[in-house]
């Protein structure tokens, strides 16, 4: 039987293809799993699905809503699972938005971590200074949005320790990162202060190797792999939404596990 809600004009199916990455990222969260057909898309948004911009902004609104729900559900004291050191994959698994042959190693001697935004002491940091702060280790699962995972062992400075050390405004909303490979990223302050969020300097008891972000990368146990920038060169504390490399391409910003 023909649905009484069936619109007079059937939208072109291509509109679903146009927004495939966005729809996939939404489906992952299961909020509207199985429900995002053309019909429900039109009902849900009341928008004109002939206009891709309108569809895009509707989908992005749902994605932002998802981010908000995830932020509410995030428990800053709850720890992600950890594993015995014997399970660490050596070496780690490489991934980036380009192949390993394009990796440009960073010189640890001349490397500096530049600081900006809502921070009392904005003097840049050297690798030696970071190594002199208290170090923490964790053996955690790296879970990629592509569907694979591996167990890795990371050591470095808790981001919370570092933020306190530099006098960052811990009531600010975001901590943003810039990297040597032009892969901007940003996280919520609650995750930045989580005990399993590290400025990682070592992997499996060795200094980070070049392809894995030497000298410093971000490693979090509570977010998907693409939220962990490598070769971090700058950190900003801000209340203005900073976005990120994949986030600009439709991937969810919170990306919690």
């Amino acid at each position: 039987m023909k649905s009484p809600f069936r619109p007079e004009v059937i939208p072109d199916k291509a509109v679903l293809d146009d927004h495939k990455p966005l729809i996939r990222s939404l489906e992952r969260r299961g909020l509207i799993r199985g429900g995002l057909s053309l019909g429900s898309l039109a009902m849900l948004t009341g928008c004109d699905v002939e206009r891709p911009d309108a569809v895009e902004s509707a989908l992005l609104a749902i994605s932002r809503f998802n981010d908000g729900v995830q932020a509410l559900l995030f428990d800053p004291r709850k720890l992600a699972p950890t594993y015995p050191a014997s399970m660490i994959l050596r070496p780690a698994k490489f991934n980036a938005y380009y192949d390993v042959t394009e990796v440009k190693p960073v010189n640890g001697e001349s490397w500096r971590l530049d600081l900006s935004g809502l921070i009392a002491d904005k003097r840049p940091w050297t690798l030696g200074q970071l190594q002199a702060l208290p170090q923490s280790s964790m053996v955690i699962k790296h879970i990629c949005v592509e569907g694979w995972s591996y167990i890795g062992g990371w050591s470095g400075v808790r981001l919370a320790t570092f933020l306190e050390h530099i006098g960052a405004d811990l009531r600010a909303k975001y901590v943003a990162f810039k990297t040597a490979d032009d892969y901007p990223s940003s996280i919520d302050m609650a995750t930045a202060l989580h005990p399993q969020t590290l400025l990682a300097l070592r992997y499996g008891d060795e200094p980070l190797a070049d392809p894995f972000g030497f000298p410093v990368r971000l490693r979090m146990a509570t977010k998907l792999g693409y939220k962990n920038p490598k070769w971090v060169t700058a950190l900003e504390v801000t209340n203005t939404y900073p976005g990120g490399f994949w986030e600009e391409r439709g991937f969810p910003w919170f990306a919690g596990l």
Partner: protein, 111 residues
Amino acid sequence: MRFPQPVRVGDLIGRDVLRPVESQDILGQIRRVVRDPDGGILVVVEFGGFLGFGRRPIAVPVDAMVLLGPDTEIVAFTPDQLRQFPTFSSAMASDVAPDTVIRMGLAKPSH
């Protein structure tokens, strides 16, 4: 450059060997790591066959392979080229001890 990384020989045994294409077809598994008379390191891959029949060991130079997390890929030869490889015989080489650390390059996932 594929940034060859240290990897323990014992940790390589049994790993899947994939084809560097989106479907990531499994070409075989690593059985042994050996040194040829010239000192070159070869990875012995149980290769080919169908439903477990017709598989045979071939020796692939270590620098023709890359690490892909817990898996490996052969990046320097196509399956057609690998089919032309001679069947590996133990007389050709000696085993590398499991605790030996060798170097193997990296790649990003092909999918």
